[in-house]
Symmetry: C2
Subunit: 160 residues, 2 copies
Protein backbone atom coordinates (compact mmCIF):
# COMPACT_ATOMS: atom_id res chain seq x y z
CA UNK A 1 0.00 0.00 0.00
CA UNK A 2 3.01 2.23 0.41
CA UNK A 3 2.92 5.25 -1.88
CA UNK A 4 -0.74 5.11 -2.78
CA UNK A 5 -3.26 7.76 -1.95
CA UNK A 6 -6.46 6.80 -3.78
CA UNK A 7 -8.56 3.67 -3.21
CA UNK A 8 -8.22 1.06 -5.95
CA UNK A 9 -10.91 -0.90 -7.82
CA UNK A 10 -12.34 -3.60 -5.53
CA UNK A 11 -11.36 -1.91 -2.28
CA UNK A 12 -13.76 -1.05 0.55
CA UNK A 13 -13.54 2.42 2.04
CA UNK A 14 -15.26 3.56 5.23
CA UNK A 15 -15.53 7.00 6.83
CA UNK A 16 -12.24 8.38 8.17
CA UNK A 17 -12.24 7.41 11.87
CA UNK A 18 -12.65 9.99 14.61
CA UNK A 19 -9.46 9.14 16.43
CA UNK A 20 -9.86 10.66 19.85
CA UNK A 21 -10.08 7.61 22.11
CA UNK A 22 -6.45 7.97 23.24
CA UNK A 23 -3.53 10.26 22.41
CA UNK A 24 0.06 9.50 21.48
CA UNK A 25 3.21 11.46 22.18
CA UNK A 26 5.98 11.19 19.60
CA UNK A 27 9.03 10.22 21.68
CA UNK A 28 11.59 10.47 18.89
CA UNK A 29 12.27 10.42 15.18
CA UNK A 30 13.65 7.70 12.92
CA UNK A 31 16.35 8.55 10.40
CA UNK A 32 16.57 6.22 7.39
CA UNK A 33 17.94 6.40 3.82
CA UNK A 34 14.42 6.41 2.33
CA UNK A 35 12.98 9.83 1.52
CA UNK A 36 9.96 8.67 -0.53
CA UNK A 37 7.34 6.04 0.21
CA UNK A 38 7.90 4.32 -3.14
CA UNK A 39 11.59 3.96 -2.34
CA UNK A 40 11.13 2.13 0.98
CA UNK A 41 11.60 -1.62 1.29
CA UNK A 42 8.40 -3.64 1.77
CA UNK A 43 9.97 -5.31 4.80
CA UNK A 44 13.08 -4.51 6.81
CA UNK A 45 16.04 -6.87 6.81
CA UNK A 46 18.68 -7.38 9.46
CA UNK A 47 21.35 -6.99 6.77
CA UNK A 48 19.80 -3.70 5.64
CA UNK A 49 21.34 -0.28 6.27
CA UNK A 50 22.02 1.03 9.76
CA UNK A 51 19.35 3.55 10.74
CA UNK A 52 19.37 6.04 13.60
CA UNK A 53 16.54 6.24 16.08
CA UNK A 54 16.71 9.61 17.83
CA UNK A 55 14.99 9.67 21.23
CA UNK A 56 13.69 13.02 22.48
CA UNK A 57 13.87 14.32 26.04
CA UNK A 58 12.59 13.58 28.64
CA UNK A 59 12.66 9.96 27.44
CA UNK A 60 16.42 9.42 26.99
CA UNK A 61 16.78 8.05 30.55
CA UNK A 62 14.34 5.29 29.57
CA UNK A 63 17.10 3.81 27.34
CA UNK A 64 19.10 2.80 30.42
CA UNK A 65 19.89 -0.91 30.22
CA UNK A 66 18.71 -1.37 26.63
CA UNK A 67 22.14 -2.55 25.41
CA UNK A 68 21.55 -5.83 27.26
CA UNK A 69 19.34 -6.84 24.31
CA UNK A 70 20.55 -7.89 20.89
CA UNK A 71 17.18 -7.22 19.27
CA UNK A 72 14.54 -4.61 19.96
CA UNK A 73 10.93 -4.15 18.99
CA UNK A 74 10.27 -0.69 17.53
CA UNK A 75 6.81 0.88 17.28
CA UNK A 76 6.37 3.85 14.97
CA UNK A 77 3.64 5.98 13.52
CA UNK A 78 3.01 5.71 9.76
CA UNK A 79 2.26 9.39 9.40
CA UNK A 80 1.60 9.29 5.63
CA UNK A 81 -0.99 6.51 5.73
CA UNK A 82 -4.70 6.85 5.22
CA UNK A 83 -6.86 5.04 7.81
CA UNK A 84 -10.16 4.35 6.07
CA UNK A 85 -9.66 1.39 3.66
CA UNK A 86 -10.78 -1.83 5.34
CA UNK A 87 -10.46 -4.14 2.33
CA UNK A 88 -7.41 -3.65 0.14
CA UNK A 89 -6.00 -4.93 -3.15
CA UNK A 90 -2.23 -5.09 -2.65
CA UNK A 91 -1.62 -6.41 -6.16
CA UNK A 92 -4.05 -3.93 -7.80
CA UNK A 93 -5.78 -6.93 -9.39
CA UNK A 94 -9.20 -6.49 -7.82
CA UNK A 95 -8.60 -9.25 -5.25
CA UNK A 96 -9.31 -7.72 -1.83
CA UNK A 97 -8.02 -8.72 1.60
CA UNK A 98 -9.03 -7.34 4.99
CA UNK A 99 -6.55 -4.82 6.42
CA UNK A 100 -6.09 -7.10 9.49
CA UNK A 101 -5.00 -9.94 7.17
CA UNK A 102 -2.24 -7.71 5.74
CA UNK A 103 0.73 -5.90 7.21
CA UNK A 104 -0.18 -2.84 5.14
CA UNK A 105 0.51 0.64 6.53
CA UNK A 106 -3.09 1.55 5.66
CA UNK A 107 -5.03 0.61 8.83
CA UNK A 108 -7.37 2.32 11.30
CA UNK A 109 -4.43 2.98 13.64
CA UNK A 110 -1.33 3.17 11.42
CA UNK A 111 1.20 1.77 13.89
CA UNK A 112 4.04 -0.40 12.62
CA UNK A 113 5.94 -2.91 14.75
CA UNK A 114 9.35 -4.06 13.64
CA UNK A 115 12.06 -6.28 15.11
CA UNK A 116 15.53 -4.81 14.64
CA UNK A 117 19.12 -5.68 15.45
CA UNK A 118 20.66 -3.29 17.96
CA UNK A 119 24.09 -2.07 16.88
CA UNK A 120 24.94 0.60 19.48
CA UNK A 121 23.59 3.44 21.59
CA UNK A 122 25.24 6.88 21.67
CA UNK A 123 23.47 9.28 24.02
CA UNK A 124 19.95 9.78 22.66
CA UNK A 125 20.69 7.84 19.44
CA UNK A 126 19.97 4.15 18.98
CA UNK A 127 21.56 2.63 15.87
CA UNK A 128 19.75 -0.41 14.46
CA UNK A 129 19.35 -2.54 11.34
CA UNK A 130 16.08 -3.94 10.02
CA UNK A 131 13.88 -0.89 9.54
CA UNK A 132 11.85 -0.17 6.42
CA UNK A 133 10.25 3.20 7.13
CA UNK A 134 10.47 6.69 5.68
CA UNK A 135 13.08 9.13 6.88
CA UNK A 136 11.51 11.30 9.60
CA UNK A 137 9.01 8.70 10.82
CA UNK A 138 7.76 9.45 14.36
CA UNK A 139 8.83 7.00 17.10
CA UNK A 140 6.21 5.67 19.53
CA UNK A 141 7.98 3.00 21.59
CA UNK A 142 11.04 0.77 22.03
CA UNK A 143 10.90 -2.59 23.84
CA UNK A 144 13.21 -5.57 24.24
CA UNK A 145 12.33 -8.35 21.79
CA UNK A 146 9.90 -10.55 23.72
CA UNK A 147 11.95 -13.66 22.90
CA UNK A 148 14.95 -12.24 24.77
CA UNK A 149 13.04 -10.89 27.74
CA UNK A 150 12.00 -12.54 31.00
CA UNK A 151 9.90 -10.47 33.42
CA UNK A 152 11.91 -9.16 36.37
CA UNK A 153 8.85 -8.48 38.49
CA UNK A 154 7.63 -11.26 40.78
CA UNK A 155 4.95 -13.63 39.47
CA UNK A 156 1.36 -12.82 40.26
CA UNK A 157 -2.00 -14.60 40.38
CA UNK A 158 -2.45 -15.07 36.63
CA UNK A 159 0.93 -16.80 36.24
CA UNK A 160 0.23 -20.48 36.79
CA UNK B 1 4.60 -2.77 37.05
CA UNK B 2 1.10 -4.15 36.75
CA UNK B 3 -1.12 -3.06 39.60
CA UNK B 4 1.01 -0.24 40.92
CA UNK B 5 0.00 3.35 40.99
CA UNK B 6 2.70 5.16 42.94
CA UNK B 7 6.38 5.52 41.97
CA UNK B 8 8.73 3.34 44.00
CA UNK B 9 12.00 4.23 45.72
CA UNK B 10 14.75 4.60 43.11
CA UNK B 11 12.42 5.32 40.20
CA UNK B 12 12.63 8.38 37.94
CA UNK B 13 9.42 10.24 37.20
CA UNK B 14 8.97 12.95 34.59
CA UNK B 15 6.01 15.22 33.81
CA UNK B 16 2.97 13.42 32.39
CA UNK B 17 3.34 13.73 28.59
CA UNK B 18 1.06 15.97 26.55
CA UNK B 19 -0.14 13.23 24.22
CA UNK B 20 -1.63 15.08 21.28
CA UNK B 21 0.79 14.23 18.46
CA UNK B 22 -1.57 11.61 17.01
CA UNK B 23 -4.93 10.10 17.95
CA UNK B 24 -6.08 6.51 18.26
CA UNK B 25 -9.48 4.99 17.62
CA UNK B 26 -10.39 1.97 19.73
CA UNK B 27 -11.44 -0.61 17.14
CA UNK B 28 -12.65 -3.25 19.56
CA UNK B 29 -12.51 -4.65 23.08
CA UNK B 30 -10.69 -7.65 24.52
CA UNK B 31 -12.53 -10.04 26.82
CA UNK B 32 -10.32 -12.04 29.21
CA UNK B 33 -10.76 -13.86 32.53
CA UNK B 34 -8.75 -11.23 34.43
CA UNK B 35 -10.76 -8.50 36.12
CA UNK B 36 -7.93 -7.00 38.21
CA UNK B 37 -4.45 -5.93 37.25
CA UNK B 38 -2.88 -7.96 40.06
CA UNK B 39 -4.61 -11.08 38.75
CA UNK B 40 -3.24 -10.89 35.19
CA UNK B 41 -0.37 -13.08 34.02
CA UNK B 42 2.95 -11.29 33.52
CA UNK B 43 3.16 -12.78 30.02
CA UNK B 44 0.61 -14.55 27.87
CA UNK B 45 1.04 -18.23 27.01
CA UNK B 46 -0.25 -20.13 24.02
CA UNK B 47 -1.69 -22.76 26.37
CA UNK B 48 -3.49 -20.06 28.37
CA UNK B 49 -7.25 -19.51 28.32
CA UNK B 50 -9.13 -18.69 25.12
CA UNK B 51 -9.96 -14.98 25.03
CA UNK B 52 -12.40 -13.14 22.81
CA UNK B 53 -11.38 -10.11 20.78
CA UNK B 54 -14.52 -8.22 19.80
CA UNK B 55 -14.08 -6.00 16.73
CA UNK B 56 -16.34 -2.97 16.39
CA UNK B 57 -17.96 -1.71 13.21
CA UNK B 58 -16.99 -0.44 10.67
CA UNK B 59 -13.83 -2.56 11.06
CA UNK B 60 -15.30 -6.08 10.91
CA UNK B 61 -14.77 -6.31 7.13
CA UNK B 62 -11.05 -5.84 7.77
CA UNK B 63 -11.00 -9.38 9.28
CA UNK B 64 -11.56 -10.89 5.85
CA UNK B 65 -8.84 -13.45 5.13
CA UNK B 66 -7.41 -13.45 8.66
CA UNK B 67 -8.06 -17.18 9.18
CA UNK B 68 -5.21 -17.91 6.75
CA UNK B 69 -2.85 -17.18 9.66
CA UNK B 70 -2.19 -19.46 12.59
CA UNK B 71 -0.77 -16.66 14.70
CA UNK B 72 -1.67 -12.99 14.93
CA UNK B 73 -0.04 -9.94 16.41
CA UNK B 74 -2.42 -7.98 18.65
CA UNK B 75 -1.89 -4.35 19.65
CA UNK B 76 -3.86 -3.01 22.59
CA UNK B 77 -4.02 0.04 24.80
CA UNK B 78 -3.02 -0.38 28.43
CA UNK B 79 -5.67 2.00 29.67
CA UNK B 80 -4.79 1.70 33.37
CA UNK B 81 -1.10 2.50 32.99
CA UNK B 82 0.62 5.69 34.01
CA UNK B 83 2.99 7.16 31.38
CA UNK B 84 5.52 9.21 33.33
CA UNK B 85 8.03 6.81 34.96
CA UNK B 86 11.13 6.53 32.77
CA UNK B 87 13.27 4.46 35.16
CA UNK B 88 11.51 1.66 37.00
CA UNK B 89 12.26 -0.88 39.72
CA UNK B 90 10.34 -4.02 38.77
CA UNK B 91 11.56 -5.94 41.82
CA UNK B 92 10.94 -3.03 44.22
CA UNK B 93 14.57 -3.41 45.33
CA UNK B 94 15.81 0.05 44.32
CA UNK B 95 17.52 -1.27 41.17
CA UNK B 96 16.19 0.82 38.27
CA UNK B 97 15.92 -0.02 34.55
CA UNK B 98 14.86 2.24 31.70
CA UNK B 99 11.28 1.72 30.55
CA UNK B 100 12.58 0.87 27.04
CA UNK B 101 14.67 -1.96 28.53
CA UNK B 102 11.53 -3.49 30.08
CA UNK B 103 8.25 -4.77 28.67
CA UNK B 104 6.41 -2.94 31.45
CA UNK B 105 2.94 -1.49 30.78
CA UNK B 106 4.18 1.80 32.26
CA UNK B 107 5.61 3.66 29.22
CA UNK B 108 5.11 7.00 27.48
CA UNK B 109 2.72 5.35 24.99
CA UNK B 110 1.20 2.38 26.81
CA UNK B 111 0.75 0.08 23.82
CA UNK B 112 1.23 -3.67 24.23
CA UNK B 113 2.07 -6.05 21.40
CA UNK B 114 1.37 -9.74 21.81
CA UNK B 115 1.64 -12.79 19.57
CA UNK B 116 -1.38 -15.08 19.92
CA UNK B 117 -2.63 -18.35 18.51
CA UNK B 118 -5.77 -17.92 16.41
CA UNK B 119 -8.49 -20.43 17.31
CA UNK B 120 -11.46 -19.25 15.24
CA UNK B 121 -13.41 -16.25 13.98
CA UNK B 122 -17.19 -15.91 14.46
CA UNK B 123 -18.54 -12.72 12.91
CA UNK B 124 -16.95 -9.81 14.77
CA UNK B 125 -15.34 -12.10 17.37
CA UNK B 126 -11.79 -13.42 17.11
CA UNK B 127 -10.97 -16.18 19.61
CA UNK B 128 -7.29 -16.47 20.53
CA UNK B 129 -4.91 -17.88 23.14
CA UNK B 130 -1.84 -16.11 24.52
CA UNK B 131 -3.18 -12.84 25.91
CA UNK B 132 -2.34 -11.46 29.33
CA UNK B 133 -4.41 -8.28 29.57
CA UNK B 134 -7.29 -7.04 31.71
CA UNK B 135 -10.86 -7.76 30.74
CA UNK B 136 -12.19 -4.78 28.77
CA UNK B 137 -8.83 -3.71 27.34
CA UNK B 138 -9.23 -1.51 24.21
CA UNK B 139 -8.06 -3.04 20.92
CA UNK B 140 -5.86 -0.98 18.59
CA UNK B 141 -4.81 -3.36 15.79
CA UNK B 142 -4.59 -6.93 14.51
CA UNK B 143 -1.91 -8.09 12.05
CA UNK B 144 -0.67 -11.43 10.74
CA UNK B 145 2.43 -12.60 12.63
CA UNK B 146 5.32 -11.25 10.57
CA UNK B 147 6.95 -14.68 10.46
CA UNK B 148 3.95 -16.09 8.59
CA UNK B 149 3.45 -13.18 6.22
CA UNK B 150 5.01 -12.41 2.83
CA UNK B 151 4.09 -9.09 1.21
CA UNK B 152 1.56 -9.49 -1.61
CA UNK B 153 2.34 -6.11 -3.15
CA UNK B 154 5.05 -5.99 -5.83
CA UNK B 155 8.60 -5.21 -4.76
CA UNK B 156 9.72 -1.61 -4.92
CA UNK B 157 12.98 0.37 -5.00
CA UNK B 158 14.06 -0.32 -1.40
CA UNK B 159 13.79 -4.10 -1.83
CA UNK B 160 17.20 -5.21 -3.04
Amino acid sequence: MVGRDEPRAGELKVAEPIATDAGLVFIGRIHTPWAERLGCPRQGREDGPTCRIEVFEPWVAALDGITAFERLEVLYWLHKSRRDIVKQCPKSDGVAYGAFALRTPVRPNPIATQLVKLERVEGPNVFVRGLDCLDGTPLIDLKPDRCLFTPLAPKQAGDV
